[in-house]
């Protein structure tokens, strides 16, 4: 599968070798941490579903396992293939988003799913790694002196704006913001000048209020407003946050014990198998469990940053850092939401929350990160 004829620079890593050899050269710390987080997910879903395996824990376990295989398979594929697939992947993602627009399946009032017959797919999840691939390639190909040029900026803006607009229409505010922030981070890392950053900030200061007024659906506005002032709707929108905080707070330092969360047993926190699963961790394992989970995430992020530092090619660096950013943002938004610091937007806690596409997308992303690291010695072409 990997083109053997590729020119390698230097001896890092040791020349080509068989797939088995490559398998040993993968940075195994990252898959281990990811696997541990996946198992934390299985445990917490098990608790959230009152100890019924078939209500999600089992599926999650299977998905993590399958995701691990996908991750390793992606990791073994030569970075040049991913480099070449960057734009096609982006375009496929874009087409799928348009497909959602046309054939999408409605769930809970928003159209996010594409029914492929065998499985349902969430194209916005596909778009998350795809946008990073596309932007990484875009900046890899773009001479550094053009990064802050108006044309250079415009290209990145278009790459970013198209999927964001389509996802916002579903409507899915959380993913839109996540995608946008990831894009901004990649653009920032690519070396955009501070002058442009200044202008963009100014633009955002004006644009965000306008966006709030005209770009958000009423229920999204309501969620944001409720976040700012939870008393607006104690039984409705802020119920989520309130019950979530009660679950966390009542857990205390040590937690109520595995399977002993009363908030969980009483089903007070909705969606605690998916987006609000951190409440189960916080309630049953307390501050200790919460901090350990956050520690695991920080370790994963740290390892990813460390891997990026070892890469030389712009594409590889931006790919790793962009994907890491997405992963980090998932965590920030989710934890912020659960702890009542961020609006309630539907963002899962990666690897722990129940949900198939997210796991595949996240683990696929780690596959790309591993691949970028594994093939860090490979020189990538630069197509203007």
């Amino acid at each position: 599968m990997v083109a053997r004829g590729g020119s390698f620079r230097g001896a890092v890593p040791a020349s080509g070798g068989s797939l088995t050899t490559k398998l040993f050269e993968i940075n195994w710390l990252l898959p281990t941490l990811v696997g541990v987080l996946g198992l934390v997910g299985v445990t917490m879903i098990f608790a959230a579903t009152d100890g019924v395996w078939r209500y999600g824990a089992l599926q999650h376990f299977v998905r993590v396992g399958f995701g691990a295989l996908v991750m390793l398979a992606i990791a073994l594929i030569d970075i040049r293939i991913w480099y070449r697939l960057a734009y096609p992947a982006y375009i496929i993602g874009l087409l799928m988003l348009i497909g959602v627009e046309v054939f999408g399946v409605e769930v809970n009032g928003s159209v996010r799913w594409l029914d492929l017959g065998v499985a349902r797919l969430q194209p916005s999840e596909v778009m998350k790694p795809a946008i990073v691939l596309a932007l990484a390639r875009y900046y890899h190909d773009l001479p550094s002196d053009r990064v802050s040029h108006i044309i250079g900026l415009l290209g990145a803006l278009i790459l970013l704006a198209l999927p964001m607009a389509l996802i916002l229409r579903q409507p899915d505010l959380g993913t839109t913001l996540l995608l946008g922030t990831t894009g901004v981070v990649v653009v920032y890392l690519a070396g955009i000048s501070w002058r442009v950053i200044g202008f963009a900030s100014l633009f955002a200061a004006v644009g965000i209020p306008l966006f709030f007024k005209y770009g958000l659906k009423a229920y999204q506005q309501e969620r944001v407003l409720t976040f700012l002032d939870p008393t607006r709707d104690p039984a409705g929108a802020s119920y989520h946050i309130t019950q979530s905080k009660i679950a966390l707070g009542s857990g205390g330092v040590n937690g109520k014990g595995f399977m002993r969360g009363t908030q969980r047993q009483g089903e007070y926190v909705p969606e605690n198998r998916t987006d609000f699963i951190f409440t189960v961790i916080g309630e049953e394992f307390g501050l200790i469990g919460g901090l350990l989970t956050m520690g695991l995430y920080m370790a994963v992020i740290g390892v990813c940053v460390w891997l990026s530092l070892q890469c030389k090619e712009m594409f590889a660096k931006l790919l790793i850092l962009g994907l890491t950013t997405t992963f980090t943002l998932y965590i920030f938004i989710n934890l912020g939401m659960v702890m009542g610091l961020a609006p309630v937007v539907g963002v899962p806690l990666p690897l722990i929350s129940y949900g198939g596409t997210v796991i595949l997308a996240v683990m696929g992303g780690f596959g790309l990160i591993l691949s970028a690291h594994l093939y860090r010695g490979v020189e990538l072409p630069r197509s203007g």
């Binding site: 001479p143 070396g191 205390g252 501050l287 919460g290 995430y297 070892q310 660096k317 850092l321």
Partner: protein
């Protein structure tokens, strides 16, 4: 790092990028750590600093206190006979969340035990307004056969649960309905006035009228609590039994009434062809004021109100000219007619203005200005003194003396005898009646008092209104001599000491003697030897009393001229009210009675007959009769 091997040369293009991207990576990394720090701090704040607070909130979520309904106290008569008791109430409830076919299920229930459109509407409203797990009452007070039939088919009725709950029954044939009242579901006004959360329980019932309402506090008891762990939808996860929070059952209320006497009295109102007569009777203990009978007729079945009145029941009751729901014995204001004459008489004696021995000539009428006031006896009584005037109920005599006394002196005595005031016998719904004075008329009608008004009042007509209860109290006070007896219905209710009656005992004795002559001397309007029959227990007992004929309409000149005043020939609605008050035994007063029979046949006979029978029965039941008979026997 693996970078311990020699690095390849780096392209010039990438050089500035590499350092910049590393710098910016670290900057972002630092930011990321900062965010994690904020999140960790927030977690610390929630789980350590505010943990106590959230633990409480969590427990508030987790635990609910379900109310346990107390058993309602029973109501008994003076001998302990149950008048209102709790019974098994077989009922069907529906738990909407257990079925998807509410309509179909209700249709099926209806086939076995019909559900009226109104009930159906109520059920559907209850289902809409309550959470899906709350049991909604479908039918209650189901008889045993229907209940069994429904139970047999329960498997085909998804969502339906059969249960045997607490019901209320009034076993005494309806003769206590007015006194007891009935119970029902608390209305929005009840809930506003009473903050007891029990009232909001859909299966809880409170007293609506009568003793049930007035003694609500005693009868209700206190709710218990059951600590339950519930989930977000309010469904019970588990119970936490705690014996300290059981419901406190309500206390029984004992009435002074005698169930059998009440029943006996009700039977006396029966007529041969017109159903039960309409009216009221009150029997009161002249010493203690305890009411032995307090009956309004016709009776109605209070059980109907508990199980829910059908439209036809309601219509029948509302359209009945005898107004069965109306509590005539305490809320019916009637002209006391000639029974008021004792008050006028006593006022005359107290005033010292009238010499009771001095006769007045009755020509059958009295002219006052251009008005003529008639005596009931057209041809006149001739010369009558005070005693004879009461015995024969001569109106002219009272017309004459009342002009001397004036209305205010008469009213003063009437009030002291207990007329014109509302008695709180703790069943509510009574009226005060009217004892008119000059002041009263000015305020009420805005016109001055006229002598004619005094003349009308002197024979208990015109403005004077009294209830059977007030008439019984008046008679009891006359019989008691010393104390102003107050009526009492609920045993154990603390009454203030009776006030002194403050009439000259000799005057009262004179009045009693005149009342004795009415019933016990030939020529008296209610004369009958052996008034209580020849039963040895009451034989020889003497009755003292007074008849009254309450006019309900003006008597036309034509009628006077033709002499047709026979009541029985008039339509029911236009016949006179028949009134009697009395006490017995004459020599040792024990009970007093006040009876009114609406449009009650010829003159005062009907009320006098009923009163005699009931008083006799009261004496028989009291046992005093035995002792008295034994005494007289021994003396003989």
């Amino acid at each position: 790092m693996i970078g311990d091997r020699p690095m390849p040369p780096i392209s010039s293009q990438n050089t500035p990028d590499k350092n910049q991207i590393t710098r910016r990576t670290f900057a972002l990394g630092a930011g990321g750590i900062g965010v994690f720090g904020v999140l960790a701090a927030r977690l610390y704040q929630l789980q350590v600093l505010q943990a106590e607070n959230y633990r409480t909130l969590s427990d508030n979520n987790r635990f609910n206190f379900n109310m346990l309904l107390p058993e309602r106290g029973e109501i008994r008569d003076r001998f302990g006979v149950p008048l209102a008791r709790n019974s098994q109430n077989f009922r069907l409830v529906m738990i909407p969340e257990r079925t998807t076919e509410i309509e179909k299920t209700l249709d099926r229930v209806s086939r076995i035990s019909p559900i009226s459109p109104r009930q159906r509407e109520r059920i559907e409203k209850d289902i809409r307004q309550n959470p899906k797990f709350v049991p909604i009452l479908v039918k209650d007070n189901i008889d045993w056969e229907t209940f069994s039939a429904l139970n047999m088919r329960l498997h085909a009725l998804p969502g339906i649960v059969s249960e045997a709950g607490q019901g209320r029954t009034y076993p005494e044939n309806g003769v206590f309905s007015h006194v007891l009242g009935y119970i029902g579901r608390a209305g929005s006004r009840d809930i506003e006035e009473d903050s007891d959360p029990l009232l909001k329980q859909p299966t809880f019932r409170i007293g609506k009228t009568g003793v049930e309402a007035a003694q609500e506090k005693t009868l209700r008891g206190a709710s218990g609590k059951l600590k339950v762990e519930v989930n977000a939808r309010g469904r019970i996860v588990r119970e936490w039994p705690d014996p300290a929070t059981r419901a406190t059952p309500g206390k029984d209320v004992w009435l002074t009434l005698d169930a059998e006497l009440q029943e006996f009295a009700a039977k006396q109102f029966a007529t041969e062809d017109e159903g039960d007569d309409s009216g009221g009777i009150c029997v009161i203990d002249v010493i203690t004021g305890e009411l032995r009978t307090l009956l309004s007729m016709p009776a109605f079945d209070a059980n109907l109100f508990v199980s829910g009145l059908t439209q036809s029941d309601m219509d029948r009751m509302n359209n009945d000219p005898k107004r069965p729901q109306y509590n005539k014995v305490i809320a019916g204001g009637y002209p006391p007619a000639s029974t008021f004459k004792m008050a006028v008489m006593l006022a005359a004696l107290e005033s010292n203005l009238i010499n009771p021995a001095k006769p007045v000539f009755c020509s059958g009428k009295l002219r006052l200005g251009n008005r003529t006031f008639h005596c009931w006896k057209r041809q006149g009584h001739g010369k009558v003194d005070m005693r004879d005037a009461l015995k024969q109920s001569c109106d002219t005599y009272f017309y004459e003396i009342s002009q001397v006394l004036g209305i205010d002196a008469i009213a003063n005595v009437a009030r002291r005898l207990g007329l014109g005031r509302l008695y709180d016998i703790s069943i509510g719904g009574g009226i005060a009646g009217i004892v008119p004075t000059e002041e009263w008329k000015r305020q009420r009608l805005g016109t001055g008092w006229r002598t004619g008004d005094t003349l009308n009042a002197s024979i208990g007509q015109g403005f004077v209104l009294a209830t059977p209860l007030q008439l019984a109290v008046m008679t009891a006070r006359i019989a008691n001599t010393i104390e102003a007896v107050m009526p009492q219905l609920v045993i154990g209710q603390t009454l203030p000491n009776f006030e002194p009656l403050d009439f000259d005992p000799a005057h009262l004795a004179f009045v009693r003697d005149a009342m004795w002559s009415v019933t016990s001397e030939p020529g008296g309007t209610a004369y009958r030897p052996n008034p209580f029959g020849t039963d040895p227990s009451v034989k020889g007992m003497e009755l003292a009393g007074k008849t009254g004929t309450g006019q309900v309409r003006g008597i036309s000149m034509a009628e006077r001229a033709s002499g047709i005043r026979s009541n029985s020939k008039l339509p029911w609605k236009l016949r006179d009210h028949s009134i009697f008050v009395g006490f017995a035994p004459y020599d040792r007063p024990r009970f007093a009675v006040g009876t009114i029979v609406e449009h009650g046949g010829s003159g005062a006979k009907r009320a006098a007959d009923i009163s005699r029978a009931v008083l006799g029965e009261a004496l028989r039941r009291d046992g005093l009769g035995d002792a008295s008979a034994a005494d007289t026997g021994a003396l003989k």
